[in-house]
């Protein structure tokens, strides 16, 4: 690593892990301690868990279940609550992109699943986030069928608006915002989709019913009210801005003012 300006850890580490183990939704869970040895600082956090799981499996013990897939920080599958923080200590980083160089030899690391009523545990560290899908199904789309769309350049969109919509649209749906919030609120997730579509001319047509339906579904799913503290945005791995919640609130109030209260 010639020329690296980093001051982070470079030597292999031994760590103590405190991991939430829970066989299934019906059974109570508990913290179990494990030791892992010779962890390279260049490993990702999930590669460190791979090492643990290979050891457990060879010893005939059930490996720790956790969700993961792309390991590039974009699919939103990984969802670990590490030392009391969504996705761990590094700002703007998903668990899969967190590297062990951010930890030190001898550290104790506590690993839990997301904690929220709306995200019940499947097993160990894997939770059920289908509530997010149902919120999108309630209105997180533009109602256009395939075919018959006008030319892509038919409606010019100012670059600044397109960029802001893009920023909101980069939400990966991981649920870190919910896990970080003391009320387990899904406001940041919902607001990201509401603003993306409210900003774009294509989404404006249904803006009113969309925000009403999505917020109603959010409440049905059992997410809490916004705490107004902003821990969601502080812990969001892709930097979804709190500004989106302001847009959501404005959209919601405007919608309700003119609403038939269909939702």
């Amino acid at each position: 690593m010639a020329g690296s300006a980093s001051t982070t850890n470079t030597k292999p580490m031994n760590l103590k892990l405190r991991v939430w183990r829970q066989p299934n939704r019906q059974t109570e869970g508990r913290i179990v301690e494990y030791n892992v040895k010779d962890i390279s600082p260049d490993m990702s956090f999930l590669e460190m868990l791979d090492v643990l799981n290979e050891d457990l499996l060879r010893a005939g013990t059930d490996p720790v279940a956790f969700d993961h897939d792309c390991r590039e920080g974009i699919c939103g599958s990984c969802d670990l609550f590490i030392n009391g923080r969504s996705h761990g200590p590094e700002k703007g980083t998903t668990t899969c992109q967190l590297h062990m160089r951010k930890f030190s030899d001898g550290d104790t690391i506590t690993i839990e699943p997301w904690r929220a009523n709306a995200f019940p545990v499947n097993k160990d560290l894997s939770v059920d986030r289908s509530a997010f899908d149902r919120i999108i199904q309630a209105g997180g789309y533009v109602s256009v069928n395939t075919g018959g769309a006008p030319d892509g350049n038919e409606i010019p969109i100012p670059k600044e608006i397109a960029d802001r919509a893009f920023e909101a649209a980069t939400c990966i749906g991981c649920g870190a915002c919910v896990a970080a919030c003391k009320n387990a609120s899904a406001m940041l997730f919902v607001s990201a989709k509401v603003s993306q579509l409210a900003l774009l001319p294509q989404g404006k047509v249904e803006a009113q019913t969309r925000v009403e339906n999505m917020v109603a579904q959010m409440d049905i799913e059992g997410f809490g009210a916004c705490s107004n503290i902003g821990s969601c945005a502080a812990e969001c791995p892709v930097g979804i801005s709190l500004e989106n919640i302001a847009i959501l609130n404005r959209e919601f109030l405007t919608a309700k003012a003119a609403s038939n209260n269909l939702a």
């Binding site: 974009i74 992109q97 894997s126 997010f132 899908d133 749906g173």
Partner: protein, 644 residues
Amino acid sequence: MELFSKAPEGPLAEKWDKHKFNVKLVNPANKRKYDVIVVGTGLAGAAAAASLAELGYNVKAFTYHDSPRRAHSIAAQGGINAAKNYQNDGDSVFRLFYDTIKGGDYRAREANVYRLAQVSVNIIDQCVAQGVPFAREYGGLLANRSFGGAQVSRTFYARGQTGQQLLLGAYSALSRQVAYGKVKMYTRSELLDIVVVDGQARGIVTRNLVNGEVQTHAAHAVVLATGGYGNVFYLSTNAKYCNVTAPWRAHKKGAYFANPCFTQIHPTCIPVSGDYQSKLTLMSESLRNDGRVWVPATKEIAERLRKGEIRVQDIKEEDRDYFLERKYPAFGNLVPRDVASRNAKMMCDEGRGVGASGLAVYLDFADVIKRTSAQAVSQKYGNLFEMYEKITDENPYEMPMRIYPAVHYTMGGLWVDYNLQTTIPGLYATGECNFSDHGANRLGASALMQGLADGYFVIPYTIGDQLAQTPPKPVTTDHPAFAEAKAAVQARVEQLLSINGTRTPDDFHKALGHIMWEYCGMARNAEGLKHAKAEIQKLRREFWQDVKVVGSGEEMNQALEKAGRVADFLELGELMIDDAFNRNESCGGHFREEYQTPEGEALRDDDNYAYVAAWEYKGDNQPEVLHKEELVFENVKLTQRSYK
């Protein structure tokens, strides 16, 4: 069985229109009487499920993820091609068709590729209408960039996250149909077999990954949109769950597997850093628009650099070999992926590689930062630079990136006709899991195009042809074939759990990956392939005697899932070796060392190998039978690809 492509006769530009007119239509009132299963919810699957539901069919969609939005299409970075010619730089449907056929080294079917280029323009319109926030110019119109292997700017993009934005668009369309009740969504459900009744695909067997329940589902047609099999190499840019199980189960039920050895090695990935490495991360090819690829001019300088005696900044301009610019002045750093990858390997083989392992070359942004600004570079590639720094702990604004080729995409897949139907009637394959459009090498920004083309604009038309000839009577899982397939799936789960050996599924997977990368990777030869075949057979025997999976089948059991996928990779690997051995030529991603030009470029043999190799499964441990679909080129002249 003779392979019949069903590609329509007549002039190229009229084939698709003619075909759309000739395919039978299903009466609108009858559409709701047909059930269609779609497996996979990436671009091809989500687009197909949404579009078929909009037409009125009853769709059941399946994904092994916790949500359809997680599919690996989401990780595509660079962009999507479309022949819009918005930039007035000479693009056209024919040029996109020509580039794709040529880029694929003349091993794709003309009619399919032309159709792909035709519908590419509709994809952009559709996505914009869905609210996909593509990059735009200050005037408010859509922005484009040029992308690996193309001399026109036809790539639409959303910063470095185009796949994410397109997938979320398709996911939103799918979600809308779920809300309408036209799509029934099954998440965390993995396909473990295809059910064939009287020669027709009639359903699937799935396992619920949360509680282990094995279920059967019936339909009038089954669409597979399950992605590629690059993870046969263990290390690839694919997501960890990507696997070959769905197409492989279909193959064992009668679907031919085409050109399995055509795998794409992407030139710009972050190099391997250790044995624990679980996957490789791609650095978008768009970086080659501005980054310059180089290695030290001599072995001696490279050695001193690797030993840490000198720093990269100390290497003088004249001691740097910008080998792509030197060898290919016309295309420079933008040569197609296979050419760029092979050249990087050549440099490292010569001992001029960089990084601790010597298995890397530089991708340098110093010039563009000097010419514009660090801020301008960040605007274009900010998230990629950040990702690179997170993984490597090096800052690419200050020192060149280290990159090395890695397995990225598989051009091979289930053989399909012009309707995207496999050799099992009623079973379709779309997106990366079919073989049809990219020949022996895929051009950058064409995977997203193909996935969405198949899902939005091809399968909704072509599936009707089959369904219109199927009586609109309800289908059920009552036929004994369903119970048989279910019992077979359960027996296999039990078998994997009962072995209780000493080696983990990952252990076998890594061993397989080593064999495949060494002997069936960037360069192949007959001797090596023979050796690899024997090694894989041995590894497969060991697997079934010594794999270790604990727990039960009635719970969430990720080691069990993994074991099943590895078992299928161990069979696919051997077929890839057979296919690579059979193809005595070099073309695209398939480079047989025995067949090269004096300059070391791929040497095709059009007289003997201008065909699609489609393999028929004949039973466990039986040699597969080769069927050939001769490729006829009426609209392009076969030339040796030259990017000089």
